[in-house]
Symmetry: C2
Subunit: 216 residues, 2 copies
DNA sequence: TTCAACCGACCGACTGCCTGTCGGTAATAC
DNA sequence: GTATTACCGACAGGCAGTCGGTCGGTTGAA
């Protein structure tokens, strides 16, 4: 049976299927046949819309990236929110939009099969999130909250670390270890930014629930 | 023609070939046939010694890991070397032994094809190097050089960042950017460790060549 | 010293799967 | 009515891993 749809619609159908399948079985573990079957199209159709399997992954990451950074950017630009609160909200948005916009992608990245996808997303996050946060930090410096000659490099370090250690399973942790890791992390960020000791910690406990279990 | 060798010897021949080929063409880009051809053995022989292609990679990383961390550990344990100097020497050893012990592996990890290998090595480095450096930091704390309640977490952050930003091509940089990135990095490390401002920077310029082009 | 049994190293044809291609067909737009 | 665009599915080429069988060195008994 032959069903014709608009290119955009088909493209998104394929991406939705790939999103779910890559999440469940990983990129390498998912064959193009799996995708064809789920969408209900023929091989040729898939390769009409995407030039390769990897191209599908790149499109998936791009789609994800736009949604994720868009939400974060919006909050970051709202100068009516105090600096520290805004930082926390941006970080929270990065988690939440990760859940809602892309059904499975963030939850299943951590499987070892998905190394390539993970690396690509890491690149997007580090190079996308860092400038957004740096902008807020600069405001904080003007207001005398922070003090560092290297706001960008600081945030790059913070984002890289959080993204690797808290998101990945590169470092395996018990829940307890995780808690103390987060405590240490916040203190270290305060030092890097030259913030008053405890200033970030206090704000965090006001907003995020104290356990911080889903941080970044 | 049939040549019989001891299992260990064959195993290492295969690993040497894989080392070079993975370095040149990446893991995915190297077929088992490539390896067979270079070693001069049949398919069955390869699978007599290794249970899968990924098993070869794991063995390669293990071999690399032992050599790399062994060298670093040795230096770290030498308490006759002053703390700051020892840190720099350990970091240098991580670079140098990367060149000498494993011909190609470190130079070619950065190709996108090698994401899985890279992730595995990253895990090994973060979980292996951090405790070694933390030991030295603890000595530094006792001597009053550093001051932090979280030496392990500090070093985890430092190692993770350096390994991601300076080793990978996740962040693309010009040489100039690289230099300023290193400058900022050293200052940030001083802050994290609670070291006197400039104390690490000075030591670095004494030892490593000032440009620090091959740092970590 | 000889011989036979054994075992681990080795072989290569084969299977099944996978990605990407291509010539052709049907539906839609103009 | 024609051009474009979405769609189809058979096919080619290459891949990892399997398996039944072969060969050579070693060991121990005759």
């Amino acid at each position: 049976m032959r069903v014709v749809k608009k290119a955009d619609e088909r493209r998104n159908e394929i991406l939705d299927a790939a999103d779910e399948l890559f999440g469940q079985k990983g990129f390498d573990g998912t064959s193009t046949n799996d995708i064809l079957e789920r969408v209900g199209i023929a091989r040729g159709t898939l390769y009409h819309h995407f030039k390769s399997k990897e191209d599908i992954m790149d499109a998936l990451i791009e789609r994800y990236n736009v949604r994720l950074l868009g939400a974060a950017q919006e909050i970051a630009a709202d100068k009516s929110i105090p600096v520290v609160e805004r930082i926390i909200r941006v970080v929270m948005a990065l988690n939440i939009s990760g859940e809602s916009s892309s059904k499975e992608i963030m939850e299943h990245i951590h499987k070892p099969q998905n190394a390539l996808m993970h690396q690509k997303i890491q690149r997007v996050i580090i190079n996308g999130v860092t400038p957004i946060l740096t902008g807020i930090i600069r405001e904080g410096i003007e207001q005398g909250l922070f003090s560092t000659p290297f706001p960008y490099e600081c945030m790059e370090m913070v984002v890289t670390y959080a993204n690797t250690v808290f998101d990945d399973d590169i470092v395996t942790m018990t829940n307890e270890e995780r808690g103390s890791r987060i405590l240490a992390f916040v203190c270290n960020v305060e030092r890097l930014l030259g913030a008053e000791s405890g200033s970030l910690m206090d704000a965090m406990q006001m907003f995020g629930r104290g356990d911080g279990s889903s941080y970044e």
